[in-house]
């Protein structure tokens, strides 16, 4: 049985008990030697595929999602090129804003990643974030404390409030078996309603908006750079380091990973899974609470009802994209922060709604969930490269056929968008583009039936050309469709003549 695992889990399983105790032994010897060791390890691993693969994966997923996003934009009547231009422009010219949006996401993504490592899925960081931010806002204006101590106490209050809010589903999961996905989500709705009530009745500042009074100036986190970025970023970086240490160097982290990897095996090995599960969700909620507290102390200075713009949900995206690795989460969260900052300028300058970013994020998560798609692309790519080198006469026709599929699919989508006013024609082109993608997939993976897929696609072009003539009489469009059909026939004749059934690829597996 073949099971795909992340690098971390692979090291976890490959380590026997002896090496683990050695690891713990290293920890007692003191930091310098250990730091040297980890630097050496990092230096060695920098040059391995295992180090770069997750990054490459993430990059490929992002690129595919951006392309699909562009297609959706074209159908909605927006110009994807100008949208992405302003997205890039906004992301690259305002680093303080990128970090500002990224800061809460770093913490919420760590929160999700931490629960994931323990085999749980905390889907409700949004609610924990609300509880944490409310606690921080209340401590910020109700308690008088000196400077420096005040923000620390507020952050702690936020972390505790968020932690308790997630500890409850943790306990329910551990001792009653209540499914944490449902309970954390339900409690998230409860938290949003509860904090709305707190800010509308007991702690309301007079006025129309439901919000608490401003926090004391002593509790404010200082700004670091530009009008947005505040010291919450440092807190987030410390948290990244803390989670990294927790999982790499502590017994608790080891136990949590063991429970996440195989609960029964962990229990047999003498680890208490219930305690670890409850603790993991509690810690996870604490991080989400910290995230909310940092935002209140660094930027909003008060609790406003429903202030969070989906930081909890984006935290899930960042954790998934960062493959639950703390450093990966950091990178992914800053990337999503850049998307948010760029999304603002995109919606102002190119008039594309910022929700487009949400669509792209959803696609990214879907693609990241399917690592085999990327694996398949990478493996086929490598084997094609070898094949191309060994016998170009056979490889070139196949690659041309695959390329014809995908390039034609893009053409078809373009035509489909142009002819959107003539519904049947537009749908025909859409069908053609889907057929093109299928034909590409079949040819690229050298299916036995790729002949059928290819000719269905060629037939689509033919039908589309005839439909164009019937509906519009536009010769240019009709001729280009028929030309695509002709090219398809020629390409496949070449394949049959030169490389029947992908001759010679067998020996080219990577």
């Amino acid at each position: 049985m073949k099971v795909k695992r992340t690098t971390d889990e692979r090291t976890l399983t490959s380590q026997s008990d002896a090496t683990v105790s050695e690891d713990l032994g290293v920890q007692r010897k003191g930091l310098p030697a250990e730091m040297r060791m980890s630097l050496v390890n990092l230096g060695n691993s920098m040059f391995t595929w295992a180090f770069w693969k997750p990054l490459m994966w993430a990059l490929v997923c992002i690129i595919i999602s951006i392309i699909i996003g562009a297609v959706i934009m074209m159908y909605s009547g927006y110009d994807p090129l100008s949208a992405y231009y302003w997205l890039m422009y906004g992301a690259l010219t305002q680093p303080d804003r990128v970090i500002f949006y990224g800061t809460p996401l770093i913490l919420t993504s760590l929160s999700v990643a931490l629960s994931f490592k323990c085999g749980l899925f905390n889907i409700g960081p949004e609610g924990q974030l609300f509880m944490g931010s409310m606690a921080a806002a209340l401590v910020g204006y109700l308690v008088a404390l000196p400077i420096i101590i005040h923000p620390i106490v507020c952050l702690a209050a936020g972390a505790i409030a968020g932690g308790l809010w997630a500890f409850l589903p943790g306990l329910l999961k551990a001792y009653r078996g209540a499914h944490e996905v449902v309970t954390t989500m339900m409690l998230s709705y409860v938290a949003i309603l509860f904090t709305s009530w707190l800010s509308s009745y007991p702690f309301k500042e007079p006025g129309w908006v439901s919000k608490t009074p401003l926090i004391d100036p002593t509790a404010i986190l200082p700004h670091l750079f530009g009008p947005y970025m505040h010291a919450g970023f440092i807190v987030a970086l410390l948290a990244v380091f803390g989670v990294y240490i927790l999982f790499k160097r502590t017994v608790l982290g080891y136990e949590m990973r063991a429970v996440g990897f195989n609960r029964d095996a962990a229990e047999t090995a003498g680890i208490n899974p219930r305690k670890n599960m409850a603790l993991a969700l509690g810690l996870s909620g604490g991080l989400a609470g910290l995230s909310g507290a940092g935002e209140i102390l660094g930027y909003h200075y008060r609790f406003v009802a429903n202030w969070s713009a989906g930081y909890g949900w984006d935290g899930i995206t960042a954790a998934v994209l960062g493959r639950n690795n703390p450093w990966g989460c950091l990178l992914a969260a800053i990337f999503l922060g850049a998307l948010r900052a760029g999304g603002n300028s995109m919606s102002i300058m190119a008039q594309v709604p910022a929700e487009m970013i949400g669509v792209v994020q959803g696609l990214i998560v879907l693609f990241v969930a399917a690592p085999r798609l990327i694996d398949w692309l990478a493996n086929s790519g490598v084997s094609y490269a070898i094949w191309l080198k060994k016998s170009p006469k056979n490889a070139i026709p196949w690659l041309t056929a695959a390329g014809y599929g995908i390039v034609g699919a893009f053409y078809a989508i373009g035509y489909s968008v142009i002819s959107i006013s003539i519904f049947p024609l537009s749908m025909m082109f859409l069908l053609t583009s889907i057929a093109g993608l299928l034909s590409f997939a079949m040819t690229f993976s050298r299916y036995q039936t790729s002949f059928a897929g290819h000719f269905f696609y060629v037939g689509c072009w033919l039908t589309a050309g005839i439909l164009v003539l019937a509906y519009t009489g536009s010769m240019a469009l009709a001729l280009s469709s028929l030309a695509m059909c002709a090219i398809g026939v020629v390409v496949w004749l070449l394949v049959i003549a030169l490389a029947p059934k992908g001759a010679g690829i067998r020996g080219c597996r990577p």
């Binding site: 339900m186 509860f194 009530w197 959803g362 998560v365 085999r372």
Partner: protein, 344 residues
């Protein structure tokens, strides 16, 4: 399980009795209110039951589908959009069902064909659907709140029924509510009395046995996930053009997750889904009832300050219900991708 249901029934009975006692202050209102409560329970439970049944097909075949929230949202949106463009609500329902199936198809490709992580994929479905529907709300109607009003599915009207005291409340009811009961029976029959149902359950309980019997596990799981999408899409379509007549941003409001809870609470059986769904629908209806009471009865005016807590009732009780179940038995292989043994 049985104790948990008794516990919840007790809660419900107490709530109703409390309501009765208060309502006795104005006796003629009580029958009206009870009739209204019956109606609103049925209305609110329909999307939950349909979606929970969908989740049941998916989980019985071995695939967790937490994307139901997104599938409902997509179904609700497509139904309204199609009804808006074609002015035919039934075509809208069809579009809602099909779009739900399509989105579930993506989930199935990721989970079954590509053996991806089912929970992550489900989250992706939710994120995509919430972004996409909000974007399209802007593209089609130029608003970020609620769409224009569209033609909704006409209610079935039984004129004679209005004379009967409490039942009179449901003289007018969307046909999809009746359809829901039919679907419960049909899915019970399909799941337990057809070979397809047996194979579907086997895919979720013991896929390697099914495989060695010569049936493709992947095909069964594809079927399960796509049925879940069709039913979830129907639930969403009911929400937007059976119950209301417009689409609002993120209008499902956690119903997909409540449906998942109903599924767990109903122990992965059709009848259980129906009971749990009606129970959670009742809680939602009860919450509306209390809100209305605060408006019309001065004795309840003080509750106005606590309306946020009243809105919490369904969510809190879902958590209580899940915590109250002693033994829930999920399908054994649910959540894990099935890989054929390598033939060496």
């Amino acid at each position: 399980m049985r104790r948990a249901i008794l516990l919840l029934l007790a809660i419900v009975v107490i709530l109703v009795l409390a309501l009765l006692v208060v309502a006795l202050r104005s006796p003629p209102v009580i029958l009206l209110l009870l009739g209204w409560l019956l109606l609103t329970t049925l209305q609110n439970s329909t999307p939950l039951v349909l979606t929970a049944l969908g989740g049941m097909f998916s989980e019985r075949s071995g695939v967790v589908n937490i994307g139901l929230e997104g599938i409902m949202l997509m179904g609700a949106f497509s139904a309204v959009a199609t009804s808006w463009f074609t002015n035919d609500p039934w075509l809208g329902v069809l579009a809602g069902v099909l779009s739900g199936g399509l989105l579930a198809g993506v989930h199935a490709i990721v989970c079954v064909r590509l053996k991806g992580n089912q929970i992550v994929s489900g989250t992706g479905v939710i994120l995509f659907a919430s972004g996409f529907t909000t974007l399209m709300l802007w593209v089609i109607w130029g608003t970020k709140g609620t769409s224009d009003s569209v033609a909704r599915v006409p209610d079935l009207y039984f004129p004679g029924l209005e004379q009967i005291p409490i039942i009179g409340g449901i003289a007018r009811l969307s046909p999809i509510v009746y359809l829901m009961f039919v679907i419960v029976v049909v899915s019970w029959y399909v799941l337990y009395h057809t070979s397809f149902g047996l194979r579907l359950r086997a895919a979720g309980e013991d896929p390697s046995t099914l495989d060695s019997a010569g049936v493709s596990v992947d095909k069964m799981r594809f079927a399960g996930v796509i049925i879940s999408g069709l039913l979830g899409g129907l639930g969403g379509a009911y929400l937007s053009i059976g119950f209301e007549s417009q689409f609002g941003k993120l209008m499902t409001n956690g119903r997909g997750f409540i449906a998942l809870a109903a599924l767990i609470f109903g122990n992965w059986t059709p009848l259980g889904c129906l009971i749990a769904g009606v129970l959670f629908g009742f809680l939602t209806g009860f919450q509306y009832l209390v809100q209305i009471m605060t408006g019309i009865d001065p004795g309840f005016a003080w509750l106005g300050d606590y309306s946020y807590f009243i809105q919490m009732i369904p969510y809190v009780l879902v958590v209580v219900a899940l915590a109250g179940i002693r033994r829930s038995i999920p399908p054994k292989a649910v959540g894990t991708a099935y890989e054929k043994e390598a033939t060496a």
